[in-house]
């Protein structure tokens, strides 16, 4: 039987599977879905559910400037800080620390944090 992945080191994807401005959704068992982004060779993770509606940000679009756009009302967030950039989104998203090791992207699901308003 395989071991449960550790939440502090949750394997999200392989670096080779993502290109610039890609976003994927991961669904860790029992936790809220998380969106993982590739931006200019770096990886970032935030909550996947838009703070305004019930949309999945992984279904939205990421631009080169690090802005993810919710597919519903086109509210936007900064994927690096989680900050809500445009109305009607005002609440920030939780961001999660990410490390890359040997071509695997790991998300620390235990240390999600909200940027201070």
């Amino acid at each position: 039987m395989g071991q449960e992945p550790e939440l502090q080191r949750f394997p999200a994807c392989n670096t080779a599977d993502m290109k610039d401005c890609d976003v994927i959704r991961i669904e860790p068992p029992g936790l809220r879905p998380v969106a993982v982004y590739c931006l200019d060779g770096e990886f970032y993770a935030t909550d996947d559910t838009c703070t305004h509606g019930n949309a999945s940000l992984a279904d939205g679009e990421v631009d080169e400037d690090g802005v993810v756009e919710c597919p519903f009302h086109a509210g936007t967030f900064d994927v690096r800080t989680g900050e809500a950039l445009s109305f009607p989104c005002v609440l920030p998203l939780k961001t999660y620390p990410v490390v890359v090791e040997d071509g695997t992207v790991y998300v620390d699901l235990e240390h999600g944090r909200l940027q201070e308003g």
């Binding site: 756009e69 597919p71 086109a74 005002v90």
Partner: protein, 338 residues
């Protein structure tokens, strides 16, 4: 007549000759196309054109950002189909019109000054005035190319009366005609009602109404409805009005009349924001959302909140309610007056 298909949902509707844009054609067919202002300002009605040709009614509408234009998006409230279309657009049941909009001809009954720059306009139609308190209608003002949105200040009624509190905008195309040229008996076309920021009488919570400037119009309607509904007896309604100067303050008299109603108990609060107003003013100062927080901070998450006014005022208030006060998004109902 062009047929429009929403690719991501499979929904279809027809744009009839009477429909002036895709958005209103879709809403009139009972679909929940995403929208807020109907005026090109908010960007909620963005869509992607996949196939077909449209005519753009207002190319410089501020509801589209540079990012949207780069991505070839358009506004459904500023586009008319010229051929059959395939589009990609967000739809949801919350946007379906609770009362189907229709066009009707109104005549001006009375214009009454409320402050230096706000007047109450009362119009008459031949049949019942059907809308929900808090909604708005589009007025096609003679000589003005595109309709303007105005929120009803009165209650739905059998007499066919539609009332609006309208603020004169310096050199504004529509308000100049409404204030200076329209005479008693003159007619214009009303298309409505529209809008999602209507009173939820079924919510068990106490209510807060927060109005900036002409945002008072729909808030009056909501307060009137809540105060006259016996089902809302025992509920509190705190009414906040923000103006720039003392001369802008209004609504006290109308709200005082509500104190004898069988429904919610209404309390009026106001604040002025212009720091240059002298010591003659002894009341509250500052932006209206600041007064809301001073008076009700810590209790707002148990309130149903209704907001209307200029976009910066609504946005600042929304931030205060959601970020500082932890009010849940679905308890906040707003219209931004673009």
């Amino acid at each position: 007549m062009p047929l429009i298909e929403i690719e991501n949902t499979g929904e279809r509707f027809q744009q009839n000759d009477i429909d002036d844009c895709i958005l209103r054609a879709g809403l009139a067919s009972g679909l929940g196309l995403s929208y807020e202002c109907n005026s090109g300002g908010c960007g909620s009605c963005k869509f992607e054109l996949l196939e077909g040709e449209v005519e753009t009614l207002w190319a410089d509408a501020p509801g589209l950002s540079a990012r949207d234009i780069k991505k070839n998006r358009r506004l459904a409230c500023q586009s008319r189909a010229l051929t059959d279309l395939r589009i990609k657009m967000h739809t949801a049941p919350e946007f379906c019109l609770p009362v189907l909009a229709k066009r009707q001809s109104l005549s001006l009954l009375e214009r009454r000054a409320v402050t230096d720059d706000i007047a109450e306009f009362r119009f008459q139609v031949d049949n019942e005035a059907v809308f929900l308190p808090g909604q708005y209608a589009l007025l096609h003002v003679p000589g003005v190319d595109s309709p303007r949105a105005y929120s009803m200040s009165n209650l739905p009624n059998q007499n066919g009366e539609w009332a609006f509190w309208i603020r004169r905008v310096a050199n504004g195309a529509a308000t100049t005609v409404l204030f200076d040229q329209l005479r008693r008996g003159d007619r214009l076309i009303l298309d409505g009602p529209y809008g999602m920021a209507y009173l939820r009488p079924d919510s068990p919570r106490d209510v807060v109404c927060i109005a900036g400037g002409s945002g008072i119009s729909p808030m009056l309607s909501i307060a009137r409805a809540a105060a006259s509904d016996p089902a809302m007896a025992g509920r509190r309604l705190d009414f906040f009005f923000g103006g720039r100067r003392p001369a802008d303050l209004c609504g006290q008299l109308e709200l005082a009349e509500l104190s004898r109603g069988p429904g919610a108990l209404v309390t009026y609060h106001c604040s002025i924001s212009d720091p240059d107003v002298g010591s003659g003013w002894s009341g509250e100062r500052g932006f209206i959302h600041e007064l809301v927080q001073r008076q009700l901070g810590g209790q707002l998450s148990n309130r149903e909140c209704y907001l209307a006014g200029p976009p910066p005022m609504v946005q600042a208030t929304q931030r205060a309610l959601l970020l500082d006060e932890g009010v849940s998004q679905d308890q906040v109902h707003f219209d931004r007056f673009f």
